[in-house]
Symmetry: C2
Subunit: 411 residues, 2 copies
C-alpha cells in the first residue's frame, strides 16, 4: 500500500522540524507502507529567493525565476532524505523533473500534463522511502524547469497519489483539519471529519485556505482520497473524498469567507445582446479571473452588471473597461475594494429547501446588508461590506448550529 | 568565437557582485563573442548547506549531499541569468545535467566521462548568453546528480571549453593571476604572463591555490587555453597553455609551497623485494594519496622509507602501517606533522644544469635544513621544517631573481 505524505513549508521550517518529519515518515514506513513524501521549500526560503531576484532584476524572466525557486525544495528534500537515513532507513530524493512531473511551458503557473513516475516506482520496489520536490516539474516541449504556482506542492502530492494509485494522500499542515469556519473568527468552530471533493472544492474556492483549489480539482477528477492533518499531532484530521457508501451526508459543512476580492459595478449598460460577452471576453483575454457575476433585470433599456475579482486585478480591470466604454456604450464604472464574500457550503442543501432563506434571515438579524448573491447546488455566497464579514460568518455559523456541542436545527 | 568565463564564489558572493559579473558578461557579448558562463555557488552557501546537512545527519549519504549542494549553483546561475536580462540581453541557465556534463557515480568527487552540450550550442545559436552550473553533473549509470568535488567549477569550465572548442577559458578569481611566489610571503613576487600547462600543473600540485590540479590536467589533455584573471579589474592575468611558437621559455616560473602535508618515516625496513610494494598498496587501498617517496640506500640489511601525504590522512596511515608491522617486519614508524614542502618549477630547468645546486645553496645560506628531495624534469621539491617554509620561499625566489625589477642570473 502506497501512502503519499505532503509536508508544507512550516512543517520543514528548520533542521529540527525536518528531523521530526523524518520520524513520522519512519513510523509510516515501519507500519508497512511504501511512503512517498512531497516537500515544500523550508519556511521563508521562497520569499528570500524572490527578494534576491528582485535585487538583480526589475522583471525576472519566468524561466530563470523557476530555475531559482526550485532550489528551495531541492534543499529541503535532500535534508529530509539525510534525516530519514539517520532513522536507519534509506531514502532517495527526486526533483520534479526526475519524478516525471511533465508540465506545459507556462513558467510560474505551469499545469501538469502527465506523470511518468518510473524512477519513483523503481525506488519504492528497492525498499527506499521516496522524496519528491513539490511545486515543480519539467516542460514537455522545452525541457525547461517549471513551477506550478503558489500551493503547487499540494497539486504535486495529489497528482502523484493518483499516478501511483496511492491509498491516501496525506496533506500535513499547521492546522489539524478543515473547520466549519475559521476558528480565529468563530471560537467554537468544529473540525470536520469528512467532506466530499465537491464540498472541499467550494470551500477552497470561497476562501478556506487549507487546500488550494487546483489540488482539490485534481483530487476530484482522479478520485484521490485526501487526508488533511497536522504535522504537530497524531490525531486524525479531515478526510476529503473518502468513498464510503455509508457516509452520512451532512446538510451543511461550513462557512467560508474571503476578503481578497473586490467588486466592480458597471451601471446603465445598454440592454442588448453581446454587451456582456464583450465585457467578459476582454477581461478573460487579460487573464483576469472573474468570480461572481450578477446582472439585474432591465429597466428603461439599460441594466447593471456587477462582478467580483481578485483585488490585485481590480485596477487593470477598471482600465480595460474604460477602454471599452465608447465601443459598448458604458460610462459609469466603479471599483469597490471594501467588500467581502461569505459562503455557506453543504452537499445536503440542495435537497433541503429554506437554507437560503435561513441564511439571509440570520444576516438580516445581525444587521448585515447583502450586496450580491450567487448560488450553486451546494453553495450560497453573498457579498457584504468588508467590516461585516466576521459578523456574518458568526451569525450564519450559529444559525446552522455548526459549532461544537450544538445540534443542527431543521432548516 | 566562443569564450568560456568561470566566476568563483567570491565573484558572485552577493546580488551586487552578480550585477557586476553581468556587466562584464554583457561586454564580452557585445564585443561579438558567444559567451558561456560557469558559476560557483554564492560565497558561503556551500558551507551553510553543509552545516545544515550535519544538523540532520551524522554521515550524510553522498547522493543526497550532492542533491543538496547543487542547489547552491542553481541559485547563483538563475540570479546571474536575470541580471544579464536586465542588461538588455537574453540568457539561459542550465544545470550540470541539462548542460550534458556526464560523470561517473562517485558522489562528492565524480569524474567527467563525457560532455553532450547540445542544449548549450542550441542556446548559443539562438543568440543567448549561456550560464552553466559549475561543480555538478549527472551520473551516466544512475542518472543521479553528482558533484565534482572542491574546485570542481574550474573543471566544468575547462571541460566545456574543450567540448565547445572555445577560444579561451577565462577563470575569474579574486587575484589577478599566477605569481612567481605567494605575494603574502614574497612582497616583490611578479605576476606571470604565460605558463605552459605542465608548469601550471606542477605549481598547482605543489600548493599554488589559484587553479585546482584536475582542471589543469584536463586543460593539458585537451589543449585548452586558460586565462586566469581578476574579476575586480580589466587587466590581463596569466595565460596558461597559449600555443605561441615564439613564446620564450623562461628557465624558472616560480616557487610554490605547501604546508598541508605531513611526513611519515618508516625506519629499518627489511631491505628485500616486496616490502615497499606491500606498504604502498595498503595505503592506496585506503584511498590515501601519497605525494613524495624517498628511500635511502641500504645499510646493514635495512633501509629507511619516508613519504609525504595530506595531513588529514596522517593518523589513518599510521594506524594502517602499525597493523602491518608484524607482517613486514617494521617497528619504528613516525609521523611528523611539522613539515612543509617548497618547490621550484620551470619548464626551462631541464636544459640548464646547476639549478638544483643553486637552489640547495640558497637554502643552505639561509640556514634551512633539507629533509627530503624529489625532482621531475621541470620541478625540484624539498621538504623542510614548517617554520622554515617562508624563509625557504624567499631565499629561492631571490636566488633565481624572480621578483619584479630583478634580472634572472645565470645558473
Amino acid at each position: 500500500m502506497i501512502v503519499v505524505q505532503k509536508y508544507g513549508g512550516t512543517s520543514v521550517a528548520d533542521t529540527e522540524r525536518i528531523v521530526r518529519v523524518a520520524e513520522r515518515v519512519a513510523q509510516a514506513k515501519e507500519a508497512g507502507h511504501d511512503v512517498v513524501v512531497i516537500v515544500s521549500a523550508m519556511g521563508k526560503t521562497t520569499d528570500s529567493l524572490l527578494r534576491q531576484a528582485h535585487e538583480v532584476s526589475s522583471v525576472p524572466p519566468g524561466r530563470e525565476l523557476d530555475m531559482l525557486l526550485t532550489a528551495g525544495e531541492r534543499i529541503s528534500m535532500a535534508l529530509l532524505a539525510m534525516a530519514i537515513h539517520e532513522q536507519g532507513l534509506t531514502a532517495r530524493s527526486f526533483t520534479g523533473s526526475q519524478a516525471g512531473i511533465i508540465t506545459d511551458s507556462v513558467h510560474g503557473k505551469a499545469r501538469i500534463l502527465d506523470i511518468t513516475p518510473g524512477r519513483i516506482t523503481e525506488a519504492l520496489t528497492g525498499g527506499h522511502v521516496v522524496i519528491v520536490a513539490g511545486f515543480q516539474g519539467v516542460s514537455r516541449d522545452s525541457k525547461d524547469i517549471t513551477t506550478l504556482g503558489r500551493g503547487g506542492s499540494d497539486t504535486t502530492a495529489v497528482a502523484l497519489a493518483a499516478a501511483l494509485r496511492a491509498e491516501v494522500c496525506e496533506i500535513y499542515t499547521d492546522v489539524d483539519g478543515v473547520y466549519t469556519a475559521d476558528p480565529r473568527i468563530v471560537p467554537n468552530a468544529r473540525r470536520l471529519d469528512r467532506l466530499s471533493h465537491e464540498e472541499m472544492l467550494e470551500l477552497a474556492a470561497c476562501g478556506t485556505k487549507v487546500l488550494m483549489v487546483r489540488s482539490v480539482e485534481y483530487a476530484r477528477n482522479h478520485n484521490v482520497n485526501v487526508h488533511v492533518r497536522s504535522s504537530f499531532s497524531y490525531n486524525d484530521g479531515t478526510w476529503v473524498g473518502a468513498k464510503e457508501d455509508t457516509m452520512e451526508q451532512a446538510m451543511i459543512s461550513g462557512v467560508a469567507h474571503d476578503s481578497g476580492e473586490g467588486k466592480v459595478v458597471v451601471r446603465r449598460v445598454p440592454d442588448k445582446p453581446g454587451v456582456a460577452a464583450r465585457i467578459f471576453t476582454a477581461l478573460a483575454d487579460a487573464q483576469i479571473n472573474i468570480d461572481m457575476i450578477v446582472q439585474n433585470v432591465s429597466a428603461d433599456g439599460t441594466t447593471d452588471i456587477s462582478f467580483t475579482l481578485p483585488l490585485a486585478d481590480g485596477p487593470r480591470a477598471l482600465q480595460l473597461l474604460r477602454g471599452l466604454s465608447d465601443e459598448v456604450g458604458i460610462s459609469d464604472i466603479v471599483l469597490d475594494e471594501q467588500v467581502g464574500k461569505v459562503s455557506l457550503i453543504g452537499a445536503g442543501m440542495k435537497t433541503h429547501p429554506g437554507v437560503a432563506a435561513a441564511m439571509f434571515e440570520a444576516l438580516s438579524e445581525a444587521g448585515v446588508n447583502i450586496e450580491m448573491i450567487s448560488t450553486s447546488t451546494i453553495r450560497i455566497s453573498v457579498v457584504v461590506r468588508q467590516q461585516d464579514v466576521e459578523i456574518a460568518v458568526r451569525a450564519i455559523h450559529e444559525r446552522f448550529g455548526l459549532g461544537a456541542d450544538e445540534k443542527e436545527p431543521e432548516a
